[in-house]
């Protein structure tokens, strides 16, 4: 294992010794695939027959007019099979898993999107599948758990630590150190030990490659700004990946501002200054941790941005100022979601709504010759419980109460 996978000081592979050969194997499989043009073609073919790549770009006609500034375009990752950009990474790693001759996949999941995507990929490729999910998230995201189980995956509720995403990642590593022979760990974002940040970004770069071409075709020029929400950073790396060489394109990463600044109130590692550099979960980056290096609780209305770390590549781009980082608050995010739903008929996931919120803040100050592109990383219609709670819909609550009554009656009668 070479000392590689650094982006200035960030990244690396801080892994238990027993996984070193596994990472060597993974890295070389990845590098071979990356060299092999037929692999990328196989990936494109899969994504355009099993999912609907190229995903389209939609112009928000009504909101562009309302905002009165830049033209607002949206890259529609919500149209992917399983409803988010997570599918890209997962299918790519599925192909790699098959190449490595492994027959089982494991994954962590927070919001459940990556879990559903992985379970779907496993069903398609015929792999066994175990998904680790914080017990808190299992309780919050039952619909996703239901679908994972329908796909044949085993969902393990992780009761350790804060019972959320980072604990699920630890638990997945614990599985992997026991089962690396037949098992590939499908990490869900551009984090973790090398080569994950780079590999996941590579698979997700399909978003940016398509977007660049589509925007050129559509508007005859590149957009002035590109917005993406940042949890682990995979959808952001994906869309930014298409514009890295384009000096005129400003890249904006939007983190979970939650209830505002202050440890425990948000999950903004780069936009706020509550995070410090550390090493955990196998890599070095900015973490929301205390002085001792203990990870702290985070908060966000969206389960998928609620993570203590962030892609080392984005930490690097933060320092080089290649990417500007902002944070959107829970309230702004729910408003942006509702505004998008009502005016355009698009239902951005709460995660993606962070990018929309920031874009809506900035668009009015831009000119009508300028274009902005928002990455709609996923759709919210699977998160109906979260969304209904976020907008406090009393009719939904009544429906659930009635449904519970019916189930209770059914249980008593049979």
């Amino acid at each position: 294992m070479k000392n590689s996978g650094y982006y200035s000081q960030f990244g690396g592979a801080y892994i238990p010794e027993i996984l070193v050969p596994t990472f060597d194997e993974l890295e070389s499989a990845y590098l071979v695939a990356r060299e092999d043009e037929s692999f990328w073609q196989e990936y494109i073919d899969l994504m355009s027959t099993y999912s609907c790549r190229a995903t389209p770009i939609t112009r928000l006609d009504n909101l562009t007019e309302q905002l009165g500034g830049a033209n607002v375009y949206v890259k529609r990752e919500d149209l992917n099979h399983t409803g988010a950009h997570k599918a890209n990474n997962v299918m790519g790693q599925g192909l790699l898993t098959r190449r490595m001759g492994k027959t089982r996949v494991i994954a962590e999941t927070g919001a459940g999107q990556h879990g559903v995507a992985t379970a779907t990929m496993a069903a398609k490729f015929g792999f066994d599948c175990t998904i680790y999910m914080g017990a808190h998230d299992v309780a919050r995201q039952r619909p996703n758990v239901f679908w994972m189980e329908q796909m044949g995956a085993t969902v393990v509720a992780v009761t350790e630590g804060s019972q959320t995403l980072k604990d699920a990642i630890n638990e997945a590593f614990r599985d992997w150190v026991s089962n690396m022979d037949d098992t590939h760990y499908v990490l869900g974002t551009a984090c973790g030990p090398h080569p994950f940040p780079e590999m996941v970004s590579w698979f997700q770069s399909i978003i940016g490659i398509e977007s660049r071409e589509q925007m050129l075709e559509r508007t005859g020029k590149l957009p002035e700004r590109v917005y993406a929400c940042v949890g682990g950073g995979s959808n952001a790396m994906g869309i930014f990946g298409g514009f890295l060489e384009d000096k005129g394109v400003e890249l904006v990463g939007v983190e979970a501002g939650g209830r505002g600044r202050g440890q425990g109130q948000h999950a903004a590692r780069l936009a706020y200054d509550d995070a410090t550099i550390g090493v955990a979960q196998g890599y070095k980056t900015y973490f929301l941790q205390d002085n001792d290096g203990q990870m702290q609780d985070t908060h966000s209305v969206s389960a998928g941005l609620d993570y203590v770390g962030v892609s080392p590549i984005l930490s690097h781009m933060h320092e080089t100022k290649e990417v500007r980082f902002e944070a959107a608050s829970d309230t702004e995010v729910v408003e942006a979601m509702q505004r998008t739903v009502r005016n355009e008929g698009l239902i951005p996931a709460l995660e993606s709504s962070h990018a929309f919120a920031q874009a809506y803040k900035e668009a009015p100050d831009m000119s009508s010759n300028e274009d902005i592109l928002i990455n709609m990383s996923g759709r919210a219609d699977k998160d109906i419980f979260t969304v209904a709670d976020a907008v406090h819909d009393p009719k939904w609550q009544q429906f659930i109460i009635d449904k519970a009554e019916a189930y209770r009656a059914e249980m008593q009668n049979g």
Binding site: A13, P16, E17, I18, E160, I277, G278, A280, D292
Partner: protein
């Protein structure tokens, strides 16, 4: 690269003169509290333990299984800090005359400052460190500081480690090598089998350092199996499990069954 033996190595070799296998145990500092940690150390030393790993708790103990994982998070909930862990270690090394090693994850060192951490180890009387998520390739600063301070960086051999890498790990280690007996995390059962013997032979031939074996070692029989094959048997999770089941006072009796 021939290195002069460190304090840790010398202590192990010296103890081995009197015993054909040594016993190393593991506790998590601050679990369930620091007073109990001290008491357990005292009991263990009295019961005849030869070396001890003191784990500084971390919120993300990726390589640990359920028992030690829980001990880590309970210790943190009870208020354990790195400073308190150093203070406890200082007192322990002052009171007890066996080698003590720190076991922790790299972020603890990184956030403390690697050089500061190592010099604090030195002043606390620590003779070695095990940092399971820090491969030599990522740890040059750590290795340099440790070697300079005469504290042993202990690396890990696993059944998956190829011989060339064992040599590389050995070259970057001093004091001892920690051989994990199987795949997986701490605290699960291990089959003490021919496969294990073969693996230990490979370990033996790949380093001149003393060998300790851990992961799933928990009984007199396990230790008997290891006798003659390695220098140190490491009992980790099992002592914590005993403590949880039968109280802090039961640890001594358990250790006595191992060394009797």
């Amino acid at each position: 690269m021939a290195k002069s033996p460190t304090t840790l190595e010398l202590a192990i070799r010296k103890a081995r003169e009197k015993k054909d296998i040594l016993l190393m145990t593991h506790i998590v500092l601050g679990y369930p509290n620091f007073d109990d940690s001290l008491r357990v150390v005292e009991d263990m030393v009295k019961a005849g333990v030869d070396l001890m790993e003191l784990q500084i708790p971390f919120s993300e103990p990726m390589a640990d299984g359920p028992v030690i994982l829980k001990a880590n998070s309970e210790a943190l909930k009870a208020g354990a800090t790195v400073e308190k862990s150093f203070a406890a270690a200082e007192r322990i090394t002052r009171e007890f005359d066996i080698p003590f090693l720190f076991m922790t994850y790299y972020n603890i060192l990184f956030c403390y400052g690697v050089d500061e951490f190592v010099s604090r180890c030195k002043s606390a009387g620590i003779t070695g460190c095990i940092v399971p998520d820090l491969p030599p390739a990522e740890g040059q600063q750590y290795l340099d500081a440790m070697h300079a301070a005469g504290i042993s960086p202990v690396h890990i051999f696993t059944p998956k480690t190829p011989e060339t890498r064992m040599r590389h790990l050995s070259d970057n280690s001093s004091g001892m090598i920690y051989c994990v007996a199987r795949k997986g995390v701490t605290g699960k059962d291990t089959a003490f089998s021919d496969d294990l013997s073969e693996y230990l032979e490979l370990c033996r031939s790949s380093t001149d350092l003393p060998l300790g074996v851990g992961f799933g070692v928990k009984s007199r029989e396990d230790i008997d199996f290891l006798r003659g094959k390695v220098d140190i048997a490491v009992v980790g999770s099992e002592t914590i499990r005993v403590m949880e089941q039968d109280g802090v006072g039961a640890v001594k009796g358990f250790i006595e069954t191992l060394v009797a």
